[in-house]
Subunit: 201 residues, 2 copies
DNA sequence: GTCTATACACAGATAGAC
DNA sequence: GTCTATCTGTGTATAGAC
């Protein structure tokens, strides 16, 4: 809304804050998830940060959004529907390397249950999109006969999302849980043993 | 550790606090989950509460434990292994009536990822026990031929737990999600369509 | 052993100066 | 756009009354 220079500087500053925040939280875990910690990391005061984002919860909502954005560029962009399941598995495996962000995501997901929470719409939309991807992949696999299970794709999509989220919680409690291995085994044993055909990445 | 009267009074007071706390949180949701709110509900000062429990996190750990205890009396006590899956479904359906407690549980589950958190061992133990119940039920069903799927019971138990936790998160975000229906459909479609045989409660 | 009163530490939010 | 100062709320620690 403002002429070039100033506006762009504001956006750039926001980006810088968000990137540094992802960094700090990834490294320090949820302990690094206070306004003050992030402020220190970008050499600003807490008030300076909140000038850009309004409130703490809005700041953290933007952090989540930013991570999704970065993830999407790396993994799922432009992949055909059939491969979205695989892309998701890759994502899962990679995310498992950054416990702090998973903690943040899980914590925010709970808080966002409140319709008034700034992240509420983000999580609703994210869930819808995630399941739509699964649904389409399932449909394609069913129609091509590579998936013998003929259950309602919408329901299966919900289940897959649930398994993914649920395994993350188990993994937070005990990092020795191999999420990707369980997901893969599940696809192969229950869904018709054909997801491995997609493996080429 | 102390002679009768006094000791019992202490225990009784703790029980009273825990019961009231479950009440308040169930009614007011996570907003009622501050030491002050609970203190008000039992007509005590915050310090009075903490005298009995030490810290806030320990208090809330005991609250979780208390709820499990009450749940167990109501549903799973004495049920044969084969029916534990059904008992769990019943529990799921009943819990869905008390959003505040599910929020509390989910939030604590995330915080308990930290091995130093007072609820860490509670959640670890709870997970082990939950999965052990599923595992035995699965084994029985497999051996009696009522479950055609021959995947590793331990892995399947993890998946079922994950679906259950994951669906709760979806439900928190959108209460129109019918957790029990999805769980039931999942058992019937993927696990061999035999869980309904157990339905008699 | 039980609890109140009080003091303290800290986080997030807000107002106003620069 | 950023800081300092301030206010509020919330959890925690301690002293001492009963």
């Amino acid at each position: 809304m403002k002429p070039g220079g100033t506006y762009l500087k504001g956006v750039a500053k926001r980006e810088e804050i968000l990137k540094k925040a992802l960094d700090v939280i990834g490294r320090e875990g949820i302990r690094g998830a206070s306004v003050k910690e992030i402020a220190d990391a970008v050499h600003l005061s807490p008030a300076g940060i909140l000038h850009h984002f309004g409130t703490k919860e809005e700041l953290f909502t933007e952090i989540l959004r930013k991570r999704d954005e970065l993830d999407q560029e790396l993994f799922t962009d432009g992949a055909p529907a059939e491969q979205s399941a695989l892309a998701y598995l890759n994502l899962t495996q990679r995310n498992a390397q950054v416990p702090g962000l998973i903690e943040l995501f899980s914590e925010m997901a709970v808080k966002a249950a409140d319709p008034q929470h700034p992240a509420h719409n983000f999580f609703v939309k994210r869930g819808v999109e995630t399941r739509a991807g699964f649904e389409e992949a399932i449909r394609v696999l069913q129609e091509s006969g590579r998936l013998q299970l003929h259950s309602d794709p919408a329901m299966l999509a919900r289940v897959i999302q649930a398994v993914s989220d649920g395994l993350q919680m188990q993994w937070l409690l005990d990092p020795s849980v191999d999420m990707a291995a369980i997901m893969t085994a599940l696809f192969e044993d229950c869904l018709g043993g054909s997801i491995s055909e997609l493996h080429d990445a």
